[in-house]
Symmetry: C2
Subunit: 372 residues, 2 copies
């Protein structure tokens, strides 16, 4: 647990979204750790993944669990909050204080529900940039994140190359693959199938599509783990019983584990937010958005990249990260590519991966020193 501050940024400006729709007003909930130096040159923006939030290095107010990246962020950690000023923003469309589908629509004074406009990764990043402007930070030392957070890192480097020195996209892709879209679609349909969803207006009925959201979380969770880690961690071990029960109880540990993942998730996450954020990931496709090759998007960029992937990640496989690294190298951009040997699956970026920690630490220090 470290000192941190929680803030709400209320934008004075409206935000024109990629869809053409406009958010007349919005707020972003964010946490900061450490102190911004006088030159405002030590700020690191951490972008969270699909089900993450701004509580990167403090106890979560709902779950009371440690921050999702406390292994990396804190005093003396790879991202040392005694040295750096760390910002983590609940993304637009999220459900931990930032404007999203559970917010009140100022036009109607009702909860948005599905009237909330679709937001994209680019929209999230544009909103984040307004907050960075507000903080008076001209140039972020680094933008870093994994999975959906990695998409935001790439978007930052593509949209605002002059606003960051270093970019560390981890376990991510420059466009969501059809397999990933497919798994997200299954999750969304599970939410929508829940009769408590009420076409997205569940709050007005004082219910919540918990069962559907739990199923969505379960299927997502399977994709976050590798076959190897499932084998090693659970195998066909039985859950607190000596033999099969010949029924539909959670006989196997893996079943019990997944049910727990599903049930505990619904207490901290809004079902409509899940729909919107998965949609934002599905829509992510830098090449389509910029209407040019990945090489061309980053051509001559002064941003220094460190692209990190994990061998056991089948959801965002190393091949996707390699494509990004190749395009960057081809475009004459400073890029390091680190493929970490880990059988933990996609979740590896959230877990104890000492090689990742040292790579991140070293890379940020190198980017910093060269500029000082």
């Amino acid at each position: 647990m470290h000192d941190f501050e929680s803030h709400i940024f209320a934008s004075d400006n409206s935000l024109v979204l990629q869809s053409g729709e406009k958010l007349e007003s919005y707020v972003l909930a964010y946490n900061t750790y450490g102190k911004l130096n006088r030159k405002k040159s030590n700020a690191i923006l951490i972008c969270h993944a699909l089900t993450g939030d701004q509580h990167v290095a403090n106890q979560h107010p709902v779950t009371h669990k440690p921050g999702w990246w406390e292994k990396i962020v804190g005093p003396g950690k790879a991202i040392d909050t005694q040295i750096y000023f760390v910002i983590c923003i609940n993304c637009l469309g999220g459900c931990q204080g930032s404007t999203g589908p559970a917010s009140i629509d100022p036009a109607t004074q009702r909860i948005y529900g599905l009237n909330f406009p679709i937001v994209t990764i680019a929209d999230m990043v544009h909103a984040q940039c307004q907050l960075v402007n507000y903080l008076g930070i001209e140039k972020l030392l680094c933008v870093i994140g994994g999975s959906m957070g990695g998409m935001q890192v790439l978007q930052w480097a593509a949209s605002y190359p002059e606003r960051l020195r270093a970019a560390i996209p981890i376990a991510t892709s420059s466009r969501h693959t059809p397999q990933n879209i497919a798994f997200h679609e299954v999750g969304r349909q599970a939410v929508i199938a829940d009769n408590h969803w009420h076409a997205g207006r569940y709050q007005e009925y004082n219910v919540s599509p918990k069962k559907g959201l739990a199923v969505a979380r379960m299927v997502a969770h399977v994709t976050y783990l590798s076959e190897d880690v499932l084998q090693e961690k659970f195998g066909r071990n039985l859950q607190e019983r000596t033999d099969l029960t010949y029924g539909f109880d959670a006989d196997f540990q893996i079943e019990s584990y997944l049910r727990h993942q599903g049930v505990s998730f619904v207490d901290r996450f809004d079902a409509n937010s899940y729909l919107y954020l998965t949609r934002a990931m599905d829509y992510f496709d830098l090449v389509k958005d910029f209407n040019c090759s990945l090489n061309a998007i980053f051509k001559q960029s002064q941003v220094k990249f460190c692209v990190i992937s994990f061998t056991g990640d089948w959801l965002f496989p190393s091949s996707e990260s390699k494509k990004i690294a190749h395009a960057l190298a081809f475009s004459g951009v400073h890029v390091s590519f680190v493929e970490i040997d880990s059988e933990k699956g996609h979740d590896a970026f959230l877990l104890n991966e000492p090689e990742m920690f040292s790579v991140i630490k070293g890379f940020i220090v190198a980017c910093e020193e060269k500029e000082s």
Copy 2:
């Protein structure tokens, strides 16, 4: 379309199940193709997969689609019905005429629902063996099947080695992996989450948990396809539109395809059967059941094996088939192992795979000739 006969086998004997429970009576719906020869030496038993049935080479009575293995089974095909007598049995627990959870419980005269006992792969095979006895077939020329069908093939060879000459397990495993159990559990929870499921008593309410079953089918379907085939077949192509709609419609072809798979499945499949058959697969573990190594199970078996797998199958990866082939070879059993280079995923065994066709044809002929 070929000549075929549809039958119902009603057992005179009760069936003691692996759980210890007993089915006092049961029926098996089965189709036959071709003619049993005088020596009764040309019978091939085809075991269907999770959502398959006995309609292996005739138009399906519900969907009106061709039989699920017409590419392989028929006059002049790899399994030539002018030469062989082909039997395909709707498995115990299924929903196309064999006794399952949608059948009437003779004890209560109500639909079984969750009062139907859990059946295992071994139970399915024991029931099939009663039917083979009834047909007066002492020795099947071959037992063949993919996925859950392949599990039945292995079970046949393990439980009744003297009753078959050749065994062709395709895209299968000697025990269901934790990843596979995990995906099945997600599917079951999707069914159970549907408020129309009514604790398995939906028929009494004149409803059906269609939404939940559709979600279960969708997640399963994603696992049947490889990343490569999804990329090649769908990529990020849009469905009948020129740009994103910024909403939750099926913008992407892969979404539209999956929704169709889900919706069309529920018209032909019983939700409780889906629970029972996935459970049977999860419980499958030859080594546990026989309480000895795979090597020991098949030691000195006279059955000739041809184990087939596909490189692009990540659900039942080649490594699982290799384990089986290695154990058989180690046990001094006649075994061929064929790994077919195919990027179609697990579904490859149902698709146009000429190498599989010729391997099956050649192997059966070889087994036949040697004995004649």
